[in-house]
């Protein structure tokens, strides 16, 4: 009998469960290695060569090189592990979180100061809130990329 996963219909959200953890094991362990200053330096000196030391899939390596956190998460990455890449790049958690929405840093910061993203329309897939698939990307950063 399949496991009950009631969290799969939450829009714009990937729950890091045992299956995602299995898929992302090497990706997340690579991220973990960046907690050491010498590894951060080696990664920055030659990202591709450093990634090739890990048993990651080619797609996982491409997602890291692109710094596309949504892509990394689809491939089993977890945000607390992926944050080590952002730390290596000198990014704050707010910059990292914002990067997944398609908003610019300023747009995302302004949304937070205004009280954050509303839950209305964003509880279940199929509603019309701004986290729903049909409303991506949400800001200027994403639209720029699309052109």
């Amino acid at each position: 009998m399949a496991l009950d996963k009631p969290y799969q219909d939450v829009p714009g959200t990937t729950i890091f469960d045992a299956e995602q953890s299995r898929l992302g094991y090497h990706l997340n362990q690579f991220c973990m290695s960046l907690m050491k200053a010498e590894n951060r330096a080696r990664f920055k000196a030659n990202e591709r060569a450093y990634l090739d030391e890990w048993l990651m899939t080619e797609e996982q390596k491409q997602a890291v090189l692109a710094r596309d956190l949504n892509w990394c998460i689809r491939l089993g990455g977890n945000i607390y592990f992926l944050a080590k890449i952002g730390a290596t790049d000198g990014k704050s958690f707010q910059q990292m979180a914002g990067s997944m929405t398609g908003m610019t840093e300023e747009e995302y910061r302004d949304m937070m100061i205004a009280g954050g993203r509303s839950v209305e329309g964003n509880r279940v897939v199929g509603e019309d809130g701004n986290a729903q698939a049909h409303r991506q990307p949400q800001g200027k950063a994403g639209r720029k990329e699309a052109h």
Partner: protein
């Protein structure tokens, strides 16, 4: 005999630690956050316990995917602030209380909660930010701290009900310790926030407010809330709030005195909630 005198609840946003460490507390953005803790720092000076039992979660710092303990109790004599990728926070070393920690571990495991005993564990912002919020920037923390790490990173995390019952087992363990120690229990994390995906930035003020009300008045009922409600209503990382139920479960069954309550949006990506409850 030892006893639990009070419980403290607070968010543990890493950017709060960075703001403190970089001297930004006077900036208007951060001033609004820190002002909610002015009372709390004085309260802690007036009510310094002998030991703080600090419930928090490790954020892929001490625990990678090599090992994922659901509940881990720090039994060491000291714990070093971790380098989470930005360099270690410039905060004091955390001194433990190995005797009480070992006593609690033995009692709680015999009560059917399978704790992992940890004797070497760097502690990350989940533990040090609450200490900074409550103590400011002292040369040493005011008392020993027992770190208690809960897995809320890899799903499934422990249920609210299990956390609440664990708190009750911790209460019993503390009460059977043969030294007259005053112990505070702190529950940290939350409130509503989501750090990932197109739904990042979710905040649910009404839900958070109701959570605080229920935590104070009817925690046993609140503990029945399912994981999916936390995720749907309070964001994927809002699930950290189950840790507050451990602290609440450790309080006496009498209604607590609400010494302080504070709520503010935002600190970085997160709604900051804070409560101090005293046993009566």
């Amino acid at each position: 005999m030892a006893r639990i005198t009070a419980s403290v609840y607070t968010s543990h946003v890493p950017a709060i630690g960075a703001a403190l460490d970089l001297g930004k507390t006077g900036e208007p953005y951060w001033q609004k956050v820190f002002s909610g803790y002015d009372f709390s720092r004085q309260w802690l000076r007036d009510n310094t316990p002998d030991v703080i039992f600090l419930v928090y979660n490790d954020h892929a710092t001490a625990f990678s995917l090599e090992m994922i303990p659901t509940f881990a109790i720090g039994c060491a004599a000291e714990f070093q602030p971790a380098d989470e990728g930005w360099g270690p926070r410039p905060v004091p070393v955390v001194k433990g209380h190995p005797e009480l920690a070992a006593h609690i571990a033995q009692s709680v495991i015999q009560d059917d909660f399978d704790l992992t005993i940890v004797n070497r564990m760097p502690v990350d912002h989940g533990l040090t930010v609450p200490l900074s919020l409550m103590c400011g920037q002292p040369a040493a923390w005011p008392c020993p701290v027992i770190p208690f790490a809960v897995n809320v990173v890899q799903y499934p995390v422990p249920s609210g009900r299990r956390c609440y019952n664990l708190g009750r087992a911790i209460r019993k363990a503390v009460a059977s310790y043969d030294q007259p120690l005053k112990v505070q229990i702190w529950g940290t994390g939350g409130m509503s926030h989501q750090l990932q995906g197109p739904r990042a930035g979710l905040i649910n003020r009404e839900w958070d407010s109701a959570f605080l009300d229920r935590l104070i008045a009817d925690p046993a009922d609140l503990a029945q809330m399912s994981h999916i409600e936390y995720v749907r209503e309070a964001g994927s990382e809002g699930i950290e709030l189950v840790m507050w139920l451990i602290a609440r479960g450790a309080m006496s069954d009498n209604p607590p005195r609400v010494a302080h309550r504070f709520y503010h949006v935002p600190a970085s990506n997160t709604a900051v909630g804070h409560l101090i409850l005293e046993n009566t």
